[in-house]
Amino acid sequence: MQDVMKGQGPAHRRRVMPRADGGGGERGTWLLLGPALLFLTVFAVWPFCYLIYASFTSYQMAIPVPIHWVGLGNFEALVSTARFWHSLGVTAAFALVSVPLQLLIGLGIALLLNGISRGRELYASLLLTPMMLAPIVVGFAWELFLNPIYGPLNALLKAIGLSPPAWAQSPAWALPTLVIVDIWQWTPLVMVILLAGLRSIPTRVYEAAKVDGSSAIQTFLNVVAPMLLPYFAVAFVLRFIDSFKVFDIIYILTRGGPGTITQNLAYYTYDLGFGRFQFGRSGALSIIQLLLLTFGTMLIIKVLAKRNAPPSAQTALPAKVTERV
């Protein structure tokens, strides 16, 4: 509502050229924009107020004790537990191990696809399949695929004489398994973005490099890589942001276990809030995630922007469209 109101002020003053922008002037603009902004504002601000309120109080749903203000108590309690640091480490495994691997493998596949002349579109279509699937379906498809007793992969590995692990059910392999599934599902997104980048480089650029006598590796490092960097930045930022969202595959494949080994911040937050109804702690934890994500993203954009190829927020955003396309 506030936004609609705000818009009406200047509308009177700028009436000088009312139809230059399509009739209706600014009043019309805010009428068009109003409903959507109102909806987004209400449903962003209202729940966020609850979240802030909860995170500074002893909000617990199951226990009928009066709610009282605890200040930063929830935050302090969280950072003093080993479980918090462990789940932070699990989130970091997705953000700092899985995502770079996706970028590397995605780059490799994009270069491969760029280098063939036939069937590129068919390969790309087929390779994109994983990211179009619901993460829940991905979760139990892999659960079945990796099942130690009646799954096909271990049967195959045993047939060729290996002794495969129990994957998601073994403490040592649970997290790597989740990382593999994450890479499997989201490398295609990186591939599409980087392939788009490679396709946008004109042939004459390569020709010029060749004429100048640069070797294949030199061409890649000095010519292709700088031109690809904005696309790389887009992929990196998108995947970094999404790495904080990993939840569904954990819920299906390990339920955070064995024990709490594979709980990331998102799962821990869910467990605190909806497993134990400690909304204070849970709210505080989700605010911590929000801060980590914001600063992490800003850092990535800043570092990559310094390299002379500005992946500004505006360039970074379009790619969101093809998320799971």
Partner: protein, 289 residues
């Protein structure tokens, strides 16, 4: 195309033929291996959907069902798959329609009438980057207060909140590419705004609306965390039905596979059909800036 091949290998001229051939074969071999890796778990699920119960747990597993059956599809439908598909359809369709109704005017305003659209688009779109676990706690507490917990309306609101920023941004980008002169011509001819909207704007932006609708449908269809937290026994979307079915009883893989295939099949086909268009528009988008 093969430009990169050439530059990456720069073979001496005499060797080009043989090395080129080996290179091509090698590339295709690697790509085929990757495709197999990408499809294997899904194809395995598909095969499993046709296996009778007795074959599900045989060790080592049978590659193809010895006695293929369709019984899993019927059973899967009645144990919750049908319910899940119905509820998911209700929620995904309603939220998509709501997104388009709210989003189209806003997108038009952003594209045509707003000088600082970049700033505002960014603010709107940044809402989408929130990890869903952050808004979901607030939504849960709010819905408990408003009596919207475990209701269709509640989940529709949540999904509309999730998808509206993307829909607005996507449509605004699309409308910006439509030449303004069409609208100006209509205005000079004295056409009222709704005629301009119905006769010019709507047909011209139909592909954009389709893309936005498909993406919004797909995200709502696949979404899990919101429906896990914000609903109980009254509304059971497909991902939640699948998760419940998977976790709270001995997994019947045949039925799970059958529900999964029915749930994902139409969406996958739609995506394959639209893919060329979606990727192209996205490529132009990135390249055009």
């Amino acid at each position: 195309m093969s430009a990169l091949t050439q530059t990456l290998h720069v073979p001496p001229k005499a060797k080009i033929r043989t090395e080129g051939l080996v290179g091509v074969v090698l590339r295709h071999a690697v790509l085929i291996a990757l495709v197999i890796f990408c499809l294997a778990p899904i194809v395995w699920l598909l095969i499993t959907a046709f296996k009778p119960y007795g074959e599900l747990f045989s060790s080592p597993p049978t590659l193809f069902p010895i006695h293929p059956t369709l019984v899993n599809f019927a059973a899967g439908w009645s144990v919750g798959g049908g319910r899940g598909i119905r509820d998911s359809l209700i929620v995904a369709t309603s939220s998509t329609v709501l997104c388009l109704i709210l989003g189209f005017p806003a997108a038009y305003a952003l594209a045509r009438r707003f000088a600082a659209h970049g700033q505002l688009s960014f603010t709107i779109l940044s809402l989408r980057m929130l990890p869903p676990i952050v808004p979901v706690i607030g939504f849960y507490l709010m819905f408990q207060k408003l009596g919207l917990y475990d209701s269709y309306i509640g989940l529709i609101i949540a999904y509309t909140f999730m998808n509206l920023p993307l829909v607005i941004w996507l449509l605004a980008e699309f409308i910006r590419q439509i030449p303004r002169s069409y609208e100006d011509a209509a205005r000079i001819d004295g056409a009222p705004w709704f005629r301009m909207f119905c006769d010019i704007l709507l047909p011209l932006s139909a592909p954009g609306i389709m893309t936005a609708a498909i993406l919004s449908m797909m995200f709502a269809w696949n979404e899990f965390l919101f429906s896990l937290v914000l609903t109980g026994d009254n509304v059971i979307t497909l991902p939640k039905a699948l998760a419940d079915f998977f976790l709270f009883q001995e997994p019947n893989w045949g039925q799970l596979g059958a529900i999964g295939i029915v749930a994902m099949g139409p969406l996958l086909i739609l995506c394959y059909l639209m893919q060329r268009y979606l990727i192209r528009s996205f490529t132009a988008e990135l390249g055009g800036r």
